[in-house]
Assembly symmetry: C2
Homo-oligomer: 672 residues x 2
């Protein structure tokens, strides 16, 4: 299948139209891959637009953003202003609705403004401007003819008459004609000369706020019963919700809740031999009870699920489902649509594999089947089914093993009807693939965070993914653990490791999450060198006492409260690292937003985390006081939001001591 | 006039074609402004192409560059290879002809390679691969059907038979089928699965080598006579050519050679009152003897001009003309085509101005006249006329005061017929305009070099304009002086200042130039604070003794010889600065090119220049030995190409002492 490529001929035809534009408009931001993909924002954001706009010579230009919100009938406009230092024009418009927005940039020659500026310069130099006044009269006359309202027309006409009154003294003619009223009327009524539009319309995906700021909690509903070994239900899981709301979570994410295949079902600890009691992996989806739109009977009914969702919503939370596009050999699709799978020369269906590994409990779909449209529609309809049942967030399993163009199509289809749906991409793969999934439509993405544990690793990783051009479309959700990833740092670092990684996840990023068991510091791997949990919940039921001694509930509750109170923790574009003398202590600033021109400003947070879970560490840190507008010898109070302690710091260089037995770090609110 | 903007609908239609591509191709380089403009190269360059190419899953991919040279009948192909570290594919093709090239990138799934790799993995793990062999047979069978030659077809068919010989042992089937011959045949004959083409064709302007590497010399032919005050001729100028060739110049650039207007003619030192003897400014083009295609009679005839050009060519040099699109009030166009100018309400023609400044000796053209096509064609025809007379290089006066779209059109028109023509943009303006002129087609550009005199200024300026994405289209020509710019650094720095600025210009950039008088260290400004020359040649004849004592002829000749001998000075993409302890000494490396994989390498140059024309300066310098593959304690010889001296340096830190009374700097060739 070949992509259509524009021939040079076609491209020249387009260029020809642009070629004779009197004004050049280029370098428009935000723009992602030449407009191939939309950028992302959340509702309530202002969309700041900038561009290089110029023409030959010395004429004054004017420019505006032309934009349109979802379902808007026509274009709206926001003025742009020129900044000499950056040689750029900029403007902004409010994104007050969820959905797809488009915009472009227009520039034109401000002929009247140019004439008026030059007139004043010439008069200042004592030059004869009599011909200039006649030129101005022509400009105003043209505007008068365009004015719809009589009052405007006649005011402009009077100015024309005054300018043309050659018998009167020049200065009288100017004073009579160029009143503030006439100048304002000219801005409204003069035709934009040389009007040039940027060559592309650009799109913005505007999400709800929770797409960009949320605390996630992952739980297996089947483990939420109270009797060890007994299959839990949605009703059991529902009873956990008030406590999770109390802890401050926003999103409760459930691994697949569908019937689980029997064929090649995995036993405990991923063994190839399951016993009859084994519950299997929820990711081996489908059996005689149904597939991706069915519920595992032992969890309850669709009504139980609806009740679970409703209860979460009542508590201010929402439920996220797992979307894993693969089928157990017992999935109804295998019988109903064998053509959606790959049939091997021996007539069997191709199971999943990454040679020499085999995953015989799973059949991958053949997305390029001759029945592509049917299959893709069915996959889309799975989303639509759960959306009908109140689910507006999906965590998508391994999207990088399905065609990128499928996701772009499917997410587009879903969001066209439901622009409030959020998609989290679970792709641990090369950066180009990971980023492309975000470009093509995923609202959030898993990250490499779990594997970044040293100060250098964390700085490099967060800096790379915090570049403005990446933040335009990529939102990292920092999970501290997942059912697949128990990093050795947690295996060996004890409770202090769990505390410090929790603090990092929740303060480095507005999006973070934990998988249940984290709050109990569960840290036993299935074997040395593995990141898999021993007795992984992926293959068995694990009933826990979530209030067991040593739990991190207090820490989690405090962190989530601080996140809700401190607006600096709710954005991703305000992170900068600062230096310490000890690389065991990571230092970063989350800058408070500035109210434009109003002097109002959210508090800055200075965060220092001891990355060593075993030893107390001390260091001098170097606060970026220049960026914060603090003088080299100036004192300022910092208030530790974790402990309530207050310190007085002075200038850039200050002392920090962190004992992991006490506190993993400081979250210092700068108070001035 | 409005540019056509693609509606979202049109853009979606294009996107729809791309949307279902199985393979993603993005981040293609070189690409300038989404393919809006071509990038630039010179003939003999290899065009290196890189791209991110990926699809879902674990399949092996393959990719190639598809390219076409000027007048090529069809596409040619260059293979691309994947580099894991950068996650990028790259390939290259030779640019062996001048003109416009196009290319794009194609990727596909290497199904046979994937199958073969997986087969080996499975066999290595001792798995049963009998069904895999049947799958392989299908792939080879399909290729056999595509093979045009009987030999290939039957070799492939034999492999199919072997793989399907189910009665034979597996390892025999594999060994018989997968011979090196069959593997090679599969590369040639297997249909590329999932073939995907990048969404744009990109263009490359390939210039002759002198567009990127040349030494320029500017002279006023009317000053080349031997009698002070007497108007020189082309014949006089011709007599200067052998000496200029001896000095090593490549391009002799002449200010306008056309008849000069009488009306408001400027007198000496730009005075508003000319005497009858005053020769006027050559940029006030046109009088009763003709306009842009005529020659000032006192310079000679067109035959004299032709002879001048021919003589320069004989000497290995070429002649560049000034192209200044403006008219004196006496220009024939004013009478013949008043509609090409702006008529004011009083019936007069608008003269040039930048209020409150007036330039009444010049009428600007109205490029947006209703007779636009006629005017633009006439402007193009001026180029074509001089090209007929052997001129292949034009220095364009103030292009930023004429429409950018005019230049794009006009340069395109000229280069379509004469792809060897070189255009130098004389735009001293905001960076966005300066760079856009280079994007739209100017081969070379004047720069801010004259105003960059401190080490910090020079480093920042050269670094900014040496970024690879800028070098893709922008070639700075570093003029050390011009008839308009005698910088105060030269006014006050004496001969040492002229020597050091010459050395900087000629070693920082493969393109540089001087305006005559520089070699005589002429440094008297018309008044303090002005950058204009006293008794500027723009308004009068200046006869000089070019061999006068104190001249820089020896220095110029040596510099130009070194430039021709050292390939590192002939490229712009190999400049890096290195540190010294004394900011009066600027240090930079011009890296030698590496022959790919051959071990061959051009010599590196280490250049140190004392920017202080008044005092000797000494410093430790820090040679970037890591980048040069020199060990921290390793010795190496450096050979000063200016003096012939040889020094032994060791490691990074070495000593430099430069006395402006002796030498302005070192040009050290690293010899190992």
């Amino acid at each position: 299948m070949a992509t259509r490529t524009q021939s040079r001929g076609q491209q020249r035809a387009t260029a020809a139209a642009a070629q004779f534009a009197p004004i050049v408009i280029e370098g428009v931001t935000p723009e992602l891959d030449c407009g191939r993909y939309p950028v992302k924002r959340v509702v309530g954001d202002a969309c700041a637009v900038a561009a290089s706009i110029f023409k030959d010579g010395h004429d004054l230009l004017a420019a505006r953003v032309r934009f349109r919100g979802p379902n808007d009938d026509g274009w709206r406009y926001a003025p742009m202003a020129y900044d000499f230092a950056s040689d750029r024009w900029s403007g902004a418009f409010p994104l007050d609705r969820i959905g797809r927005w488009t915009f472009t940039v227009e520039g034109w020659t401000d002929r009247f403004g140019t004439w008026h500026r030059d007139l004043e310069k010439k008069r200042g130099a004592g030059q004869d401007v009599s011909v200039e006044l006649l030129e101005g009269a022509e400009l105003i006359d043209a505007a008068a003819r365009r004015a719809k309202f009589g009052a405007a027309r006649s005011a402009l006409a009077r100015a024309v008459t005054a300018l043309r009154a050659t018998e009167a003294p020049l200065s009288d003619r100017v004073a009579t004609a160029l009143t503030p009223e006439v100048i304002e009327l000219m801005q409204a009524h003069a035709a934009p000369t040389d009007l040039t539009t940027y060559s592309r319309e650009l799109a913005i995906t505007v999400d709800r706020r929770r797409a960009g700021f949320a605390s996630w909690y992952e739980l297996f509903p089947r483990s939420q019963g109270s009797t060890p070994g007994k299959h839990g239900t949605f009703a059991d899981a529902e009873r956990r919700l008030p406590r999770l709301a109390e802890l401050g979570f926003d999103v409760i994410y459930l691994p697949p809740i569908h019937p689980i295949g029997h064929t090649f079902r995995k036993g405990k600890n991923n063994s190839l031999q399951a016993t009859p009691d084994d519950v299997g992996s929820p990711w081996a989806i489908g059996n005689e009870h149904g597939g991706h739109t069915a519920i595992e009977p032992r969890l309850g009914t669709i009504e139980d699920f609806d009740r679970f969702v409703a209860r979460a919503n009542e508590l201010g939370m929402e439920v996220a489902l797992d979307y894993a596009l693969q089928c157990s050999p017992d999935h109804p699709w295998v019988k109903e649509h064998p053509e959606w799978f790959t049939i091997r020369p021996d007539g069997t269906i191709q199971y999943a594999e990454n040679p020499p590994k085999k995953y015989q409990d799973i059949y991958p779909l053949n997305f390029w089947t001759s029945e592509r449209a049917e299959l893709w529609n069915a996959c889309r309809d799975v989303f639509l089914y759960w959306i009908e049942h109140g689910v507006k967030t999906f965590r998508v399993d391994n999207p990088h093993t399905k065609p990128f163009s499928f996701w772009e199509w499917c997410i587009g289809e879903v969001r066209r009807q439901h622009p409030d749906v959020v998609f989290l991409s679970e792709a641990f793969t090369r950066p180009s693939k990971l980023l492309n999934l975000a470009k093509l439509g995923f609202s959030q993405s898993y990250t490499y965070f779990t594997w970044k544990n040293s100060a250098r690793e964390l700085r490099e990783f967060m800096t790379e993914f915090s570049r403005p051009e990446v933040l335009d479309y990529y939102r990292g959700n920092l999970f501290a653990n997942t059912p697949d990833i128990l990093h050795e740092f947690l295996q060996h670092g004890g409770r202090p490791a769990f505390r410090l990684r929790l603090l990092l996840a929740g303060t480095l990023s507005p999006l973070y999450g934990i998988y249940s068991g984290y709050e109990l510091c569960e840290n036993v791997a299935v074997r040395p060198g593995s990141e898999e949990y021993l007795n992984s919940e992926k293959y068995e039921i694990r009933v826990r006492d979530y209030e067991a001694p040593g739990n991190l509930n207090g820490e989690i509750q405090l962190l989530n409260r601080i996140r809700r109170e401190q607006s600096a923790l709710q954005r991703a574009d305000n992170l900068t690292f600062f230096r310490s003398d000890n690389d065991a202590i990571l230092c970063y600033r989350k800058a408070g937003a500035e109210g434009e021109g109003s002097g109002w400003r959210d508090a800055d947070l200075l965060i220092t985390v001891n990355l060593d879970p075993h030893h107390a560490q001390a260091t001098m840190v170097y606060v970026p006081i220049d960026a914060m507008g603090i003088g080299p010898d100036e004192s300022y109070a910092v208030h530790d939001l974790l402990t309530g302690a207050r310190y007085t710091w002075r200038g850039s260089r200050n002392f920090v001591l962190l004992d992991p037995a006490q506190q993993p770090g400081h979250v210092l609110r700068v108070e001035r």
